[in-house]
């Protein structure tokens, strides 16, 4: 039987995805890993004045936790995401702030913003048959997602 690839099943993958929203270049994954498990409750919404502001966490019923990441400024504007966790699993990711200067006409695109929340969920749960990407070498194939997929399906 087919199964989900382990490398995609890890919450860490999605968290790493979120890490990329934070700064340019990407923030170290470790800094985000520290964000998720935090249970400190901060009633106020995170201020957007500082890129180093502490993440706020709201505990909601049924073991669901909402975490607002810090506001990160890059050359294009401010970015902030809100992550909803159930246990250690990400169940939703929303963009609270996006840079505005890169919006596209609706006739051309139906989405323009930081890489999607839905795809962050996908990475954990999707049944993926193949992976399209920039050409990997024979040597880097084993570390590629396609290589991992082939190994899992063998």
């Amino acid at each position: 039987m087919r199964r989900a690839i382990p490398v995609l099943a890890a919450t860490g993958g999605a968290l790493a995805l979120l890490a990329n929203f934070h700064t340019r270049p990407a923030a170290p994954v470790a800094s985000v890993a520290a964000v998720a498990p935090t249970t400190t409750t901060a009633p106020e919404p995170t201020s957007r004045s500082s890129a180093s502001s502490a993440p706020s966490t709201t505990t909601t019923p049924s073991d669901t936790k909402v975490v607002d990441g810090p506001v990160a400024s890059n050359d294009y504007g401010d970015v902030q995401v809100r992550v909803t966790l159930r246990g250690h699993q990400i169940i939703d990711v929303q963009a609270l702030q996006l840079p505005h200067d890169r919006s596209r006409s609706a006739s051309i695109s139906n989405f323009s913003g930081p890489i999607l929340r839905r795809e962050a969920l996908q990475a954990q749960s999707a049944q993926i048959d193949l992976v399209s990407g920039a050409t990997y070498t024979s040597e880097s194939y084993a570390e590629s997602l396609q290589g991992a997929l082939d190994k899992a399906n063998r």
Partner: protein, 266 residues
Amino acid sequence: MTHDRRASGTRRAEEQWGTVIGVDVRDPVAREVLDEVYAWFARVDDLFSTWRDDSQISRLARREIDLRDAPEEIREVLERCDELTSESHGAFDIAFAADPRVAPRPGFGPIDPSGFIKGWALERAAAMLGAAGVANFAINAGGDVLTRGQPEPGRRWQIGVQHPFDRAAVAAVVVGTDLAVATSGRYERGDHIVDPRTGQPARDLASVTVVGDDLGRADAYATAALVLGDEGIDWLASRPGIEAMTIADDHTATFTSGFPREEHAA
């Protein structure tokens, strides 16, 4: 490299073209049919490898053979590439080596159709499998993907698009039956895409994914859009039969309106 026979089909992966080509057949298929497909991939390397001095394309570049004497595949590819150069207003141009490792030889024009060959060769491989009566299969050559039919009855192929900033994640999932999906990006082999119009490395975009009905065209378009940068998605949106997704260096993802991605119900 591997040859695994499963109850539902056959999966094979072999090193070729400096990468790995995987063929995933979901119907019963004779081993000889797959042998022929991989023999075709080897022939493509004999014809088009810019890394080998003895390939036909290298001999052509050194004027050792004349275009009139070149194999039919060479002439077809060069004609198709000329059309693609015209369609992309010069952003895709095999007469300018997109890969700086392919050094122009003094006195000879560089010819590097590698931004088109993989996709073109996979389309031919798909035709070979189709002629052998195989209806449900997928081929992946180093990230260029072609699918036919279904992976299982009632389910469509799901193709993850490699996240450019996270090797362990996908940035989108493309869903469909008969698809050509090509991705061009700077994350695997560095800043190797050069704008033929300026000679400068491509900027703005980390990756471009093009979905269409012909993988050679999708392959070339992905390369061209990476060169076009911020204008790339607008150009792709103007091309008939093409859907596309770009991910910019600032981590912004942009999709054409008909991009066939999975809508995931959370």
